[in-house]
């Protein structure tokens, strides 16, 4: 918000500068130069107009304003104005002033009003500028810190999201469906694409397992904090006696590598379709276009039956497989690095209970940073509330990464 104020401030300043050159139009307009305490830096950020034509010993506006005598005079004028205003306002009840005196005071008020208004505006602007400066400084400080933190190899990539119902039967599956919807909302909130790769629902509207390919700016970077076990505590819809149950679901976040960075040898794959039996081709007509791909060296499997086109199913299954293989590769490489951290991303994090959704108390608690927010219904929309929590997790993680970096640096020093 303050950044926007700064921009509007800058644009307005460009309007002011010309006015400064035509003194006859100064009256009624605030003229102000930037505070002098940081001249060098402000010359870059806060641009002023051209300086006025030089005359011998002409004081700059700043110098004038800095003069104590001027400040005192301004105070005097303000005092006078306030007194006159008061007198004029309460003249009806007060018989202290005569008609003529009142008239004189009224005139003074109207004469001084523009000046007083300008002074007040000036004060206001001074304050705004100070605030904005501080904000800018904060922003830059944060930027420096963020740039210090080493980026993960996968931070720039897209991802495959996998949700799986855990303990709790039908209730767990219903919760899984709600979570999948929440992440679809989150993707929409950030303008990412959300392409369902797999979707295995149960009879009563729950979700056993589903996966989606999410792509967009910073998608993996943000979503990685959602990986782990999520726990819900509420009275299930099917529960007749009103008892609270605890069910779980697991979220896995697999970074999606680009074609160049990670290639799979087609010879390592076995592709299974229903066309496999018989002669295939023109001999058979089928609507079963499900595809299952097995990566022979590792035994990893991906399947898809989301589409009517077999080719599309194959493409989606490949996407899923690539993400799984890449994730496996990354885990091997980074498991040592992340072992110490609280905010886990990776194998350790997968079985860790990271968050609890408690309906009775209407709260969501993230256990990694001990953060609680309220309003479960709104949270499950995947919008502001989830984003806030996610940002906090990110900040915490950044801090930990930074600390780690500094520690390494300290240890390295002789």
């Amino acid at each position: 918000m303050a950044y926007r104020r700064l921009v509007s401030l800058l644009s307005r300043r460009r309007e002011w500068a010309p006015h400064f050159q035509t003194p006859q139009r100064v009256h009624g307009k605030t003229v102000c130069k930037h505070p002098t305490h940081h001249p060098a830096r402000n010359q870059k950020l806060l641009h002023t107009g051209r300086p006025v034509m030089t005359m011998m010993k002409l004081l700059s506006v700043d110098e004038l304003f800095a003069k104590r005598s001027l400040q005192e005079h301004l105070k005097k004028v303000e005092k006078e104005y306030n007194e006159c205003l008061q007198a004029v306002t309460y003249s009806a009840t007060d018989d202290e002033c005569s008609e003529d005196e009142l008239k004189e005071k009224r005139t003074k008020v109207s004469l001084l009003a523009p000046l007083i208004q300008s002074i007040r505006e000036l004060d206001k602007k001074q304050q705004e500028i100070t605030e904005t400066e501080m904000l800018l400084k904060d922003m830059l400080t944060i930027q420096v810190l963020e740039l210090l933190i080493p980026e993960e190899e996968a931070d720039m990539s897209d991802l495959v999201l996998e949700v799986t119902a855990g303990v709790g039967g039908q209730e767990a599956m219903l919760f899984t469906a709600e979570m999948f919807d929440m992440y679809e909302g989150f993707a929409r909130y950030h303008g990412w694409s959300f392409d369902v790769l797999e979707h295995m629902s149960s009879d009563l509207g729950g979700l056993r397992h589903a996966s989606a390919s999410i792509s967009g700016s910073q998608s993996y970077k943000k979503m990685k904090f959602e990986a782990g076990v999520h726990r819900v505590q509420r009275v299930p819809k099917t529960e007749k006696q009103g008892r609270t149950h605890t069910s779980t679901m697991t979220v896995a976040v697999l970074p999606q590598p680009t074609e160049i960075s990670f290639t799979i040898n087609p010879k390592d794959l076995r592709i299974e379709t229903t066309r496999a039996s018989g002669a295939g081709g023109q001999h058979v007509n089928t609507t079963d276009s499900a595809v299952r791909i097995v990566h022979l060296p590792t035994g990893l499997v991906a399947e898809c039956q989301q589409e009517r086109s077999q080719l599309k199913n194959r493409e989606k299954a490949m996407k899923s497989l690539r993400a799984k293989l890449y994730s496996m590769k990354l885990e091997e490489e980074t498991s040592k690095r992340y072992n110490q951290r609280k905010v886990q991303i990776g194998t350790k994090g997968r079985s860790e209970k990271i968050r609890t959704y408690n309906y009775a108390q209407d709260r969501i608690t993230d256990h990694r940073i001990s953060m609680t927010v309220h309003d479960v219904r709104s949270f499950l929309l995947g919008e502001d509330l989830l984003n806030e929590m996610n940002s906090s997790l990110q900040e915490f993680s950044n801090q930990e990464a930074l600390m780690e970096l500094l520690e390494e640096g300290n240890q390295a020093e002789p």
Binding site: V196, G281, N285, T287, Q305, L311, K312
Partner: protein, 348 residues
């Protein structure tokens, strides 16, 4: 068409045998080909309808009972697959009209009509095509045929800047192959032909629906009977593509009812060795193709060595380039290339 009459009888009969139609279309002697479950008295949900019809298809020996009911009902709910239908739509009660539609379409499936004809559409690569009997329903293998052609055409966009890439499809059916190529290659111009007027009409219709009609010309022609006319029409083609009838005549009898009863046999039967149409295409190919232009054929898994030998012995100017396999690992595609012309280089 014999199948149309069977359809209408079975449909109307099942929907209301009690009604003696004011139009008096059906006679009392009509025996229903199918016996569908009666329309439910009360209201039912989509989930319940899925279950009713799945069981009924199973009872009547209809293949892929679960998929059939899922695709038909999903289609009526405005989705392509049952997975993409939201929970609410599945658990809500269907309107009377919608229920009747479900019954009507599922009853068609009872007669072993392929699902693609029942819902009158299907997906092929990234297109959705309108489909109607008896025009041949594109198979998944053919999606890979398109992939082969695309890879080559994208790698070699054409020698001269002035000369556009062109392709010729023999036996276009619903237009799947040509339209897929056109969709992926904005610079391509396509010619397609089919001996069936139904196929020609359907290809044109699909072209229009996909906005590709400007770059596709469809001809009602038979590659065997109209060979001379074709020679006058097509030349300097970059790619000749075909999924020709390639079944062995003796295999026709073993086909499932979905194919035998509803698809055009002429689109399937390739003669005693399945190569009748293929031979004709190969014989004419050198005259259609530009130099280094290629032929792409989908064939029966037994064909590739036969095609290679026959071409070597009978077609001058055409070299067998390679055999490619489909996703199931079967030899499925033959690629042949026009040899460099030894004629006068000015004649092109």
């Amino acid at each position: 068409m014999w199948w149309r009459r069977t359809l209408s009888r079975s449909c109307r009969c099942c929907l209301g045998c009690g009604r003696s139609g004011a139009k008096g279309i059906w006679s009392l002697h009509t025996r229903p080909v199918c016996s569908a479950p009666a329309l439910p008295a009360g209201r039912i949900t989509a989930l319940q309808a899925l279950d009713v019809w799945k069981r009924h298809f199973e009872e009547k020996g209809v293949t892929e009972p679960e998929h059939s009911s899922q695709y038909i009902i999903a289609h009526l709910l405005g989705a392509k697959t049952i997975e993409s239908v939201d929970q609410q739509s599945l658990t809500q009660f269907l309107s009377k009209e919608k229920t009747e539609q479900v019954w009507q379409l599922c009853t068609r499936r009872l007669s072993r009509m392929p699902v693609q004809y029942v819902i009158e559409e299907w997906d092929f690569r990234d297109l959705t095509l309108k489909l109607r009997p008896p025009v041949f329903i594109p198979r998944p293998e053919t999606e890979e045929l398109v992939e082969l052609v695309l890879t080559d055409l994208q790698r070699h966009p054409g020698a001269a800047e002035t000369r556009r890439q062109t392709c010729l499809e023999v036996g276009c059916g619903s237009g799947a192959v040509s339209l897929s190529l056109l969709k992926s290659l904005p610079q391509l111009e396509a010619f397609a032909l089919d001996r069936s007027q139904d196929a020609v009409d359907l290809s044109r219709e699909n072209a229009l629906r996909l906005g590709l009609q400007d770059r596709l010309k469809v001809y009602h022609m038979d590659v065997i009977k109209d060979a001379e006319r074709m020679l006058g029409l097509f030349s300097s083609i970059s790619a000749l593509v075909s999924n020709p009838p390639y079944l062995f005549s003796e295999d026709m009898a073993t086909l499932e009812p979905e194919i035998l009863r509803f698809e055009d046999h002429a689109a399937l039967d390739g003669g005693e060795d399945g190569l009748n149409v293929i031979r004709q295409i190969l014989a004419l190919a050198p005259d259609f193709l530009s130099d280094r232009g290629r032929v792409y054929l989908e064939v029966d898994p037994r064909h590739p060595p036969l095609v290679r030998r026959w071409t070597e012995e009978n077609v001058e100017g055409l070299r067998y380039a390679e055999t490619r396999h489909d996703a199931s690992g079967r030899p499925r595609f033959c690629i042949l290339q026009k040899e460099e012309s030894h004629k006068d280089p000015d004649q092109d």
